[in-house]
């Protein structure tokens, strides 16, 4: 359902806020209008523009699965003015939602394949609903390898869900951090290096990656080296966004608008236009 | 066109590039109208022939040094431009050793815009007190010719003679046309802040609205940020697409600074700009 003026957000209230890491909160919001709630259908990969009224609006991947949570979940990293305002909202406060926007991960096309998920820092957010969807329909997919990195152990965003991921059949979880601490027993390495070390096979596989631009840049190179073709490598991109409607001409990577043609892209679609970091 | 002068510039450029002394030469070349000039960046010997110098070379090329800090560059500099070099040296924005300055004894430049070349010298040339650049590594051109200079700040005085209400009406009317293209800021050697105050979100000083109140705030604050720093190249006024008389505004503040502190920016690479310098013995105006 689209409101008359596509710039006007739906109103929603903040239902819960869970501190996942020192700077990331999991916000769950509920749309106020029952009609909007009923028609707000989305798939993993899509995003919404959240308004902290008075501060501004910014895009966030929807990290919940529809029908699996009461409301829309977003993992918001506190880094600028809008995210700070979202972090400072109290339960019951009103915020704005526009969406769902963008394309989604074509998970139907991945059935029967081995899936390699490579996420860094807050980049795990759009990948979480992909993992959960695969786990929901586990038999439809091949092996699942999750490589998850962060700056420090405290910055691993979905740590509380690791146990569920690890216990799923034919699923491996490889963790890594840039800086460990006394209690950290796993790897201390950069994500692209871990991908190189683990060396997942490209046979019948799809690799999906998301993270800081520099991590994506090197991870894409490593995946190519390992033999993944450009149409087997998938990423989801962040961009500065203002309208979310393909009109303000800001969020494009070459001829693709992240808000309309993305945020999910295969490397084949965007490799020519990716800027060097 | 002074072909001897142009040859001198080209010879210098050739020598500097051939010897590897500089990565590139920033100078002037003919614009697409075949009549006026535009900035040129020459990195290869074959391109040296593009360099020219004539009365349409109004641009202040010093602004480009801010983006070329990593390499040693040669730059063609008029006397007014050399004041900008001193300003940036003084404010520690560029390093002298990264520059090879080809100074030109400039006979003045005329008003130009695309496909148009004026017949009279620009106002700033008519009041210019410099006959050759204040800083250079190599000087090209003829012995500077002295010509009668006009009295500076006459236009400022004319405005000062008007009532405050008349002045306010005049300027608010001018600012209404502003479209906040920021060309004045982009072309100004003194405007080099990595984040301009208009881009700040927190606090939101001006914001993005293109409207009279915000325009006024933008124009006046920029003028004040340049007080005691403007070197009078008048490029801001040339580039303004809506013909706001920006140099008149800046000159008012320069005149004030000159009267109060007997100071003009850019005359030496080591000066103490009055609005950035504190002296214990300063008159604060409220004691005694």
């Amino acid at each position: 359902m689209v409101l008359e003026n596509p710039f006007i957000p739906y109103l929603a209230t903040l239902k819960s806020a869970v501190q996942l890491t020192p700077d990331v909160k999991l916000l769950r919001i509920q749309l106020e209008s029952p009609a909007v709630k009923a028609s707000f259908d989305y798939k993993p990969g899509q995003f919404a523009l959240l308004s902290a009224f008075g501060e501004g609006e910014a895009p966030f991947g929807i990290v919940s699965l529809p029908r699996r949570s009461d409301g829309l979940e977003f993992a918001v990293r506190r880094i600028g003015t809008v995210t700070r305002a979202l972090h400072e909202l109290e339960l019951g406060d009103v915020l704005g939602v526009r969406g769902p926007f963008g394309n989604y991960f074509p998970l139907e096309d991945y059935t029967g394949k081995n899936i390699v998920i490579i996420g860094g820092g807050i980049g795990m957010a759009p990948l979480r609903p992909v993992i959960n969807k695969i786990l929901e329909q586990r038999d439809d997919y091949g092996n699942l390898l999750i490589i998850n990195g962060a700056r420090t152990p405290q910055d691993l965003v979905f740590a509380p869900e690791f146990k569920i991921w690890m216990e799923a059949p034919r699923t491996k979880l490889q963790l890594t951090v840039d800086r460990g601490d006394e209690s950290w027993g796993e790897r201390v390495a950069l994500v692209p290096d871990v991908v190189k070390e683990v060396a997942p096979s490209p046979d019948n596989a799809i690799a999906i990656t998301c993270g800081p631009p520099i991590m994506i840049h090197y991870t894409l190179a490593v995946l190519r080296e390992l033999g993944f073709k450009d149409n087997q490598i998938v990423t989801t991109l962040e961009a500065k966004m203002k309208c979310g409607l393909g009109k303000c001409a800001r969020c494009n990577v070459g001829d693709k608008y992240v808000c309309q043609d993305g945020p999910v892209f295969t490397l084949e679609q965007i490799s020519q236009f990716l800027e060097q970091p | 066109m002074d072909s001897e002068l142009i040859q001198q510039i080209r010879n210098q450029a050739r020598d500097l590039l051939e010897s590897g002394t500089v990565k590139g030469v920033i100078g002037y070349e003919r614009a697409s109208d075949g009549l006026t000039a535009r900035p040129a960046f020459v990195y290869e010997l074959a391109a040296v022939e593009r360099l020219i110098f004539d009365e349409t070379c109004t641009h202040n090329l010093v602004i480009y040094l801010r983006d070329k800090k990593a390499e040693k560059m040669a730059i063609v500099v008029k006397p007014c431009d050399s004041r900008a070099i001193n300003l940036l040296l003084n404010e520690k924005q560029i390093k002298r050793e990264t520059l090879f300055i080809i100074g030109v004894t400039c006979p003045g430049v005329v008003e130009t815009s695309w496909n148009y070349k004026g017949q009279t010298l620009q106002a700033r040339c008519q009041t210019c007190q410099l006959s050759k650049p204040l800083v250079y590594d190599f000087l090209v051109g003829h012995e500077p010719v002295e010509w009668p200079k006009a009295v500076p700040y006459l236009n400022v005085q004319e405005m000062e003679n008007k009532s405050i209400a008349a002045r306010r009406d005049f300027w608010l009317g001018q600012f209404e046309r502003c479209i906040r293209c920021y060309a004045c800021r982009q072309v100004c050697p003194g405007c080099y802040c990595p984040e301009c105050f208009v881009e700040q979100l927190d606090p939101l000083w001006v914001g993005i609205r293109i409207a009279p109140k915000e325009n006024e705030l933008w124009q006046i604050m920029r003028a004040f940020h340049l007080a005691g720093r403007c070197i009078g190249c008048d490029e801001c006024e040339r580039v303004c697409p809506v013909d706001i008389p920006l140099s008149l505004l800046n000159q008012k503040l320069e005149k004030k600074v000159k009267e109060l502190f007997d100071f003009q920016a850019g005359l030496s690479p080591e000066e103490q700009p009055p609005l950035a310098t504190f002296k214990k013995e300063e008159k604060l105006g409220f004691e005694e």
Binding site: I8, L245, K247, C248, R250 | Y43, E199, R209, P241
Partner: protein
């Protein structure tokens, strides 16, 4: 021209007006204010469809409950005296703005605005409309087209909307339309392909050396439409405002945290040309340039789109594709 007075009765009439040294489309209250002897206006009429600043919506609180109030478009408008290139510019902007979901503010203005074009009897040195799919007397995108002749104007009624503007009596004319002026030719056949092929060529960085990254080219252009959006709040009430922006401005693609997709001067300058010559035509089948030459005239450092197109064609020719 008395006819224009009549139109003024129930509509806002926008026409070229001399303001200091500029020619701007402004609301007029008397026919005498209209300038008729001019090449082209300083700014295109796009500001009357996408204003430099406008409020998208405001937020009010009724009994503590927030309510979002959209902005309204007020009156019917007639734009008089626009050139064929500018009319095409508006038609090109329809592409992104009317594409689903339509920008309702733009759409409303577009529906309620009628366009009375004025054929060019003379070309300006910067004009090149015929190289980009338009012409000095192109009537495709206006409701009425006027062509000046010795003792008046030939009036071509193009659309029903145009018909509705005319008074009852109009003399049928047998007069032939005068030929349009000749224009320079700029090579444009290969530009789209060339931009794609030479995307990573150092040409863009070199060209950007002299670019000031001011917003002039985008603001005077009839088909540039980038905008910025910001919230303004004051004691509990809120306005979400959009204003003109340009892909050239520093920080255009900078996100919180500091990452910037188009960080270099070359990347930013390339974006403007790639958008106009490659991305826009891929989606809307027409390059986003109408040959008005305003950017050529206004660029303080003479970055000339005709030269860029010619350079790209040369790169293409040299590569032998």
């Amino acid at each position: 021209m008395r006819w224009l007075d009549q139109l003024l009765q129930e509509r806002i009439l926008l026409a070229p007006v001399r303001v200091e040294g500029l020619i701007l489309f402004q609301p007029v209250s008397k026919v005498e204010e209209v300038a008729l002897d001019f090449g082209n206006t300083t700014f295109s009429p796009k500001e009357w469809f996408l204003p430099p600043t406008e409020t998208l919506f405001s937020m009010q609180r009724n009994d503590g409950q927030p309510q979002l109030v959209p902005s309204m478009v007020e009156k019917d408008v007639v734009i008089f005296g626009l050139r064929s290139c500018d009319a095409k510019g508006i038609a090109l902007m329809d592409g992104p703005f009317l594409r689903e979901p339509a920008d309702t503010l733009y759409q409303e203005r577009r529906t309620r605005t009628s366009l009375i074009g004025l054929s060019c009897r003379q070309a300006q040195p910067e004009c090149f409309c015929t190289s980009v799919g338009s012409a000095p007397n192109d009537s495709s995108h206006v409701d009425i087209l006027l062509t000046e002749i010795e003792d008046g104007y030939i009036v071509q009624v193009i659309t029903d909307k145009g018909k509705a503007l005319l008074p009852q009596a109009l003399v049928e004319s047998e007069e032939a339309l005068p030929p349009p002026p000749e224009l320079q030719a700029v090579p444009t056949k290969q530009v789209t392909q060339a931009v794609r092929e030479f995307f990573n060529n150092p040409y863009w960085g070199r060209l950007a050396d002299r670019c000031l990254h001011c917003n002039i080219c985008a603001y005077v252009c009839p088909t540039c439409y980038c905008f910025d959006v910001r919230d303004y709040s004051n004691k509990g009430s809120l306005e979400r405002v959009r204003s003109w922006d340009s892909c050239q401005s520093a920080g255009f693609t900078r996100i919180a945290g500091g990452y910037e997709r188009r960080a270099t001067k070359g990347a930013r300058l390339r974006q403007r040309f790639s958008h106009k010559l490659l991305y826009f035509p891929e989606e809307f089948h027409d390059i986003a340039c109408v040959g008005c030459g305003r950017c050529v005239k206004s660029c303080p450092v003479n970055i000339d789109i005709r030269e860029v197109m010619s350079d790209l064609e040369q790169l293409e020719a040299k590569s032998g594709s």
